[in-house]
């Protein structure tokens, strides 16, 4: 059994820098990044997020899931010698030498108050809640700002056409980081427009499956009550027996 103890120690050793913070002694390659203009020397294989932590920042804003899903860590950066401002998720982007960056802690953009059950499933839902969509000048700045590489301008155009299905398809991977809206010269809040459209499509354009309705009706009639009663009251031995006897649904 002492072998498995050694195994657990080996595992925890191999990930120590990731779980307890980087130790300078382990670092071979360094780069310099500029956090809001101030230069810090950081290990070259860190992300923007972990590099900021290495530099001593205790993150409160601009850090959430740390894995590219929550949109909290929207970051604007410029590469040394370039004029262009680029955008990224701090948790998903490796640092580069000379990178000058700032994180966006919050986006004060407008979000509509509405009752989805009371809205019309056509373009008017956008003109009612986000009339500024009509001001889109097709400059594509939103698309260039998107750290998910979505075709943001295209889904705004789909909204203008009242094409909910295309909008849902094109905007689905949006993590609502807000970078598109912050860069838009027409003041459109793309990510909220997209969300309104997707919810409308989910409710009105993609109906509830018949097999779900059937099951709900069966549950309503209490059809499974007695079999569930029996399972709740069953001994562990009986449950083991029933578990082993399950027949896996055919793969066909």
């Amino acid at each position: 059994m002492s072998e498995s103890k050694t195994m657990m120690e080996k595992i925890s050793e191999s990930t120590r820098s990731l779980t307890t913070g980087v130790d300078t002694r382990d670092v071979e390659h360094w780069v310099t990044i500029y956090i809001m203009g101030r230069g810090y020397s950081v290990p070259a294989d860190l992300t923007i997020m972990t590099a900021m932590e290495f530099a001593g920042y205790k993150l409160i804003r601009s850090c959430g899931c740390r894995q590219g899903f929550c949109g909290a860590c929207a970051t604007i950066f410029r590469r040394e010698g370039q004029y262009k401002l680029e955008s990224a998720l701090a948790c998903q982007t490796r640092v580069e030498d000379g990178m000058c960056l700032v994180q966006i802690p919050f986006s004060p953009a407008e979000a509509a108050y509405y009752d989805i059950a009371a809205e019309s499933y056509d373009y008017s839902v956008f003109s009612k809640h986000y009339p500024e969509v009509a001001r889109c000048v097709s400059c594509n700045t939103c698309t260039k700002a998107c750290p998910q590489d979505l075709e943001v301008m295209d889904y705004i155009q789909s909204a203008i056409k009242g094409d909910f299905e295309s909008l849902a398809e094109q905007s689905f991977d949006c993590i609502q980081c807000g970078l598109c809206a912050l860069r838009c010269p027409a003041e459109i809040v793309q990510y909220n427009v997209g969300h309104l459209g997707r919810r409308m499509f989910g409710r009105y354009g993609s109906p509830e499956p018949e097999h779900l309705k059937t099951r709900l009706a069966e549950m309503e009639r209490g059809e499974f009550s007695s079999v569930l009663d029996a399972l709740v009251g069953a001994s562990t031995e009986k449950l083991k027996e029933l578990y082993a006897a399950r027949v896996r649904e055919s793969d066909e």
């Binding site: 530099a55 894995q67 989910g202």
Partner: protein
């Protein structure tokens, strides 16, 4: 680093093993290893971090005195408060509400919506968030939500899969609520406008999960939690229910009888505290992944530090199954920037196989998670058939290109955009090359014991989501977490709403804290140990060593 040659995102020595994997693919496509017997599962589990010796200790005080839990959890549960109670004025409440919900993930947001549906005025609901409303594990759930809703799949099948996967430690009446409410939750999400993956005829696309005996996994590409959560959050905001962000609850308040009556919040940015008076409290604070139990990296969000467990335990809440931890079988092991990140189980549902360095499939891809994770650990550290990365981690391959080989080109693009995108950021194309995996800390299986409505042994306190215990027993199945958050978030919100109809605001005291501190002193606990943790510490050691506090 500069000396190493990279090809398609991988260094040369890993590339050699990839070529072996690529060559064996056609042979493996229709030759999937058989599922394990109960005995084989038991044997395999011996290398699981929960079963391997060490790593736990018995609690010295509190409702679960004598029960073993992971050492970092024990250390937090047996900690002194962050606040000095003499510095807090509890007599004035900054917020007086009927229902306070602590934690804004799927469970907490669902609880808020149902509390309003059940008649609590929106101004009398308050959602407390440690960070943003949306800093939660829910939003990162990828693979799916279980719900038995096809003719071949009655709810008792879901019950058996769940309780067998949980090693029969689950609380049966709570599992029953889980499977019975599942179709109802799907209906609710449909009405709120969640866009699920559907077939041309309108039926759900339903997929396998590890340990399920039927296709029961409902997905939204590989952004299931994101889609479910952002719809609930949007609904919450559209209804203008009040919430506070960046202000964790750092202590509960109780009255003479021990009933929970409110909480103290701490503004992370200003350092000021606020007092909430609440007739009912729903705790939905999530789990403990950021404790890095046994040194594992984690899939969890930044704030997963067991705060809710700590607060509830101090108030006298009974825990169950808090000794077990879920390690997700497929965490990323390479490149180093994404180590520990989640690779959804849906990849294996769709046919991806774990493969060792010699190109061999060594395990049935859809065992329950604890068994699958153990088989991978064994392959790397006992059988020595893993691949070592430049940063010293071991892992095995997950053969993602096999998915397109089975379902046709373009399938990964449609079903796994998040996975594809994450690797593309590091120059790896998962449709062409496999990815390196190793188990990663994923889920707190146990937690505060509840009844089927989320009620605890303490009056005025409900729990929902990962902080609760009993649904999953000693091991959770895929798709039962997002489901559980919504089933019990809804139930807890509704139960709290019913309770406040006849309840008054209680007196606010720290009596339970004072009593707990006496127990800590009696047990000789080091007074420097403070909790809740709030956030993990990742600052560089060199900068930490030079920090001074001048304020």
């Amino acid at each position: 680093m500069s000396e190493v040659k990279y090809i398609g995102g991988y260094p040369e020595h890993m590339r050699q093993s990839i070529e072996i994997v690529n060559r064996s693919r056609a042979r493996r496509k229709d030759a999937v290893p058989a599922a394990m017997s109960a005995e084989q599962r038991e044997e395999t589990l011996q290398v699981h971090p929960d079963y391997a010796p060490g790593g736990k200790r018995e609690l010295k005080i509190g409702p679960n005195k004598g029960d073993p839990v992971p050492v970092p959890v024990a250390d937090l549960l047996e900690s002194y408060p962050l606040i000095d109670e003499t510095e807090i004025d509890l007599s004035v409440a900054d917020h007086e509400v009927d229902v306070m919900i602590i934690g804004g993930g799927l469970a907490g947001t669902a609880a808020a919506l149902l509390a309003q549906d059940q008649g609590v005025e929106r101004e009398k609901i308050l959602l407390i968030n440690k960070l943003r409303h949306g800093d939660c594990n829910s939003i990162m759930a990828e693979g799916g939500t279980q719900a038995a809703d096809r003719p071949i799949d009655p709810p008792d099948r879901h019950f058996l899969d769940t309780i067998g996967g949980g090693h029969y430690a689950n609380k049966p009446e709570v599992v029953r609520a889980l499977v019975e409410d599942a179709p109802l939750v799907m209906h609710w999400l449909e009405e709120l406008g969640v866009v699920f993956d559907k077939r041309d005829n309108g039926d759900y696309v339903e997929n396998w999960g590890g340990g399920t005996s039927a296709r029961r996994m409902h997905s939204c590409r590989d952004y299931t939690g994101l889609e479910e959560f952002r719809v609930l959050r949007d609904e919450f905001r559209a209804r203008r229910i009040p919430s506070i962000e960046h202000s964790p609850a750092i202590e509960l308040t109780t009255d003479e009888s021990g009933r929970v009556t409110g909480a103290v919040l701490y503004n992370l940015e200003t350092g000021a505290y606020q007092v909430v008076s609440a007739k009912a409290t729903v705790l939905a604070t999530g789990g403990f992944g950021r404790l890095h139990i046994r040194g594992f990296p984690t899939t969890n969000h930044y704030g997963a530090t067991a705060d809710g467990l700590v607060l509830a335990y101090r108030a006298g809440a009974k825990l169950r199954d808090a000794d077990t931890v879920q390690y997700h079988p497929t965490g990323a092991a390479y490149p180093v920037q994404i180590v520990g990140f989640l690779l959804t189980e849906k990849l294996r549902s769709a046919g991806a196989q774990p493969i060792n360095k010699d190109g061999e499939a060594f395990v049935f891809p859809l065992e329950p998670r604890d068994v699958e994770a153990s088989a991978i650990i064994r392959e790397c550290y006992v059988r020595e058939n893993g691949i070592t990365t430049p940063s010293g981690l071991r892992g095995v391959w997950l053969d993602t290109p096999l998915i397109d080989a089975i379902h046709g080109e373009g399938y990964i693009d449609r079903a796994f955009p998040a996975m594809k995108r994450m690797y593309a950021r590091f120059d790896i194309d998962i449709t062409v090359d496999p990815v390196l995996i190793f188990p990663t800390l994923h889920y707190q299986n146990g937690g505060v014991e509840t009844d089927p409505d989320g009620a605890t042994n303490i009056e005025g306190l409900w729990v929902a989501g990962e902080v609760s215990g009993g649904i999953h027993g000693k091991n959770r199945l895929m798709g039962n977490s997002t489901l559980g958050t919504m089933v019990f978030g809804r139930r807890a919100g509704a139960a709290a709403a019913a309770y406040v109809k006849s309840a008054d605001a209680g007196e606010r005291t720290f009596r339970h804290v004072e009593q707990f501190v006496e127990l800590l002193k009696g047990a000789g606990v080091d007074s420097s140990r403070r909790a809740p943790m709030l956030l993990p510490e990742y600052r560089g050691k060199a900068s930490l060593a030079r920090m001074i506090d001048v304020w």
